[in-house]
Amino acid sequence: MLLIPIGILVIAALVGLSKAKIVLKIVSTLSAIASVTMIYIGILGLRTTLEFKCNLFNSPSLFMSLNWLVFRVDSLSAFFLLILGILSLCASVYGIKYMEKYFEKEDMRVYTFNYPIFLLTMYLVLICWDLLWFIIFWELMSLFSQFLVAFEQSEEKAVKAAFKYFCMTKAGAEFLVLAVVLIILKATNFNANYSEITSILPAYLLAHPGMLYALTFALLIGFGVKAAMVPFHSWLPDAHPEAPSNVSALLSGIMIKLPIYMLLRFFLSFFPLKPEIGIVIAVFGVLTLFFSMMYALLQEDSKRLLAFSSIDNIGYILLPMGAGIYFLANGNQLFGSIALAAVLFHTMNHAFFKGLLFLTAGSVMYETGTRDLNYLGSLAKKMPLTTFAALIGSLAIAGMPPLNGFVSKWMIYISTLSSPATSLFGIIAIFISAVTLGAFVKYFTAIFTKPAVKEIDAKEVPVLMSAPQLLLALLCIAFGIYPFIPLKMISQALGSIGVPLASLVVYPSLVVPKTGSYSPIVIFAFLLVSTLIALLLIPSRGSVVSTWKTGRSEDLNASMSADAYYRDFREAFNEVYVLGDASKGFVQKVAKIGKMFGTKFEVLSYDLDSMLSLAMILIVILVAVLGGVSL
């Protein structure tokens, strides 16, 4: 069962090596089919644990763990598989038409080969049950997603972004390798199977707190880079906009969630629960959501704005994760489980609405060829379906009731606000939620409603592109109004990493005893019914007249430029940007120093003696680290 998607995707990738035009359709269709099977596996996996084992070779080497290839789908990975499946289904179907416009410009094989491989590696990361295999798949995923970012090879920007992405994630991955090596060398005796680790590691780490913090440090950096956690986020706003939009949807929607998946595994099942670790993660989450959203306000490029908002949502996921670990470690089962449920719920929500928004940005690009918010405008009249989808996406991401974004944000606030230690995180999250609203008012109005500078020639996108958007929009609405289905899945997923979700549901409301309640059904019904009644009682009928320009008849430029949005707000909060830019400058300086060392090293390498001595030193350091001289 678990091998079916692998098989389909491998076939798709092989087909993708051909240059024929029909290949795009075949590959996309095959990917879509693979996605459907992933959804099926996800649903199955939520019910029972699926497993696949195969002995590859029998080597008594250091990494004997690699001898066995173990795939296993428990509820947690099933939950992520479900998201991956739904999103990749939409992205694949969307790609059939969307990618056509690149036919003339680019070598399509870069897409048709790499796209299924990329899906495959994500799938493998989710289903593998062994840390060493995980590292391998992880590296492959980074590699192939990087090729997709660099798809538009004629654009220098894209290639540069891809290079930056690759360097940063590679550097991050080294920390992961280090962490994994440490774990299997020191603790688990060369055993990298998740189940084994779960049983051995927590006890070991409790005895060796130094090791615990070292691992936490390495993992936070390693996964933080991939998840674009501030301050390791700088690759994302460059890389995501450059990829084709359906790939951006996957990158933002699911790929940066895989580190979240692994963090959940590590911190909840492999590691002992420590409140301070929780707080550290939550602090990083808050920093991430705060800075990224403030920067999102500045953006004048539709996809770059979305990319910054993706980082922001990683913050919204890390924050409750940290808070949840903190609560659980302190024995507050109720808030801990709600916070962790919020992690999963927001992960899913973000996958849906951000995927949706990237697809709408792609549709706009498909029709107009631009992402420039200054230039775009008044597309609502020409692309009604896309507009509807983008509106739902924007409302959902701004956390407006009764859409899905609100449910997860509500859970975050409920769990964090009333506890002294996490209250400030919740407060900042509320504020940033308002800023998100501002950013998406900008995104939506700049593209769809404000008058365009020049008349833009556009029409509604073909069905194959609008259908995935509408499907995602529908999911945003459905899971917002009826959040009980995803909550049920989440409680199963959390159960598999040993966190029982306290009963949240008192039909028809979500109720946290003595803390809060939210009844999406009642609110939605009341909104709907009273709007209908208002429409009936006070019907809006009228005549069309020209827009009022204080009595002028000329055609004036009434199009607000993208950088004009919220200028005064941004100026008032200038400190944030000063701080952000200063730290950016600092990072650049560090990078420069690194480069300098690199060139020094290159010079050194011509000199055999010094090279050898340097290698010696490095080996000594490595041995020291691995041997645990002092940790």
Partner: protein, 537 residues
Amino acid sequence: MIIEILKGNDAKILRHDEKVILALVPNDKLRTTAELLFKAGCYYATGVGVDERLLGVGFSMYHIFNCESEKRYVILKAVASNLKIPSITPVISGANWAEREAMDMIGILFDEHPEPLRLILPDDWPEGIYPLRKEFHYNERPPKVEFKPPKREKKPGIMEVPVGPYHPTLHEPEVFELHVKGEEIVGAVYRGFHVHRGMEKLAEERMTINQIPFLAERICGICGYTHNCAYAQAVEDAAKIEVPERALYIRTILLELERLHSHLLWFGVAFHLLGFDSGFMHTWRIREAFMDLAELLTGNRKTYGMNLIGGVRRDIDEEKKKKVLEIFEKTKKETKEVLDNAVGMKELISRMKGIGILPKKEGREIGVVGPVARASGIDTDVRRDHPYAAYGDLDFKVPVYKEGDVLARFLVRYEETFESFWIIEQALDQLPPGDILNEDYELPEYAVGIGATEAPRGEDVHFVITEGGNKVYRWRPRAPTYNNLPAVPIMLMGEKLADAPIIIASIDPCFSCTDHMVIVDGEKVCRCSLDDYLGRL
């Protein structure tokens, strides 16, 4: 000194007395003369184009300079040869509008004018018809020509915000177009002259010399009396008419009363624009007392109808005097209270401080007048520099501020308000006995006269050429707003959109005063295109 400049440039002195120097300057020397005058501290008041063909001269242009240092007006006359006169705009930017107006109305062409575009005539006015030429009659309706505003290139990133012709900030129809980046104004264009009433033509053709004061008073709905006075003074200057002293004092009292109610009105408007409606209501409540006073003294709340050439029509008796002082006692206190309250409001002051700055240098070049000039450190006041009515005998301060921002303009008006109380009190106290009207005069033929008053908004200049009998040959009123408006785009530049209304209002604009000049088809609002202006931005 000025006379030397003129003589040095081969000017022919036509009139030389303590009030006015009129000199005919040869065309090739016009620009240098003007430049020298400007450098000598005379600022450009206005220019008047005259159709003097009936006098056998042709078309001529009178450039009027206000020379404060010599307490005189200097008029440079240039006669068009072949319809052409060299433009002085390249050396004095303040002459821009006056020259364009002469171009529109008389058809004089100005050599090397930097922007020889229509100023006053609407875009659908036919070429070659000049309304202030003598062959054009006041009731003529020229055929309309088809006018299509050319398509304009829209610049991304710059929003074009129309302010006017209908906008709550503007109480009269004018067009400002603000180009904003976000809320920051990066460009401003003004286009005015929508409300043309053809008063000059009407006065020349239809009215007698003693009817025009009543027409002149209707130039403005707020500061009408100052126009009336300026006109009367211009004719009295041309005809050398001696005005009884009591009449001069009565004029002073009324002029200051008008300033009081005008300034209070402005305070109210400013408060309203800043959102401080309570202040608005209270200043207008106080203002009501001055309207009643005006009614007591003249029989009218507004448009007093008091002036005739040679004096005034109604006397002020002891009883009225007492009443005025009585009311003053109360209103002075109330005014002080309300305005001091407003000055004490930090939020209100912070909305005015440091915005809409007009530097002194630019102000001088444009030739701004009145409170706008005084707020930018230009120490000018017609009442002191060219004493008229009874101002020469009275004591008053001229407030001058250096900041040049809206707050400075506010404070100038604030201080002037209380000076006006003081002036009226003095004038009432010193009111000399005697006649109030001198009707014993002869109107000379084709004499040039100039009358200037300090209107609440600034220097108000009326230029008159008499025609003998009881008619005028040419009458040209120049309202203060005419000189102040070109400064508004400078003030607006770089400011926030939210401040635009108060900046525009800070010059206390009186558009109808500025727009009074010409007959346009009354039923149709003119369409104006800003394209030519925009091209240069």
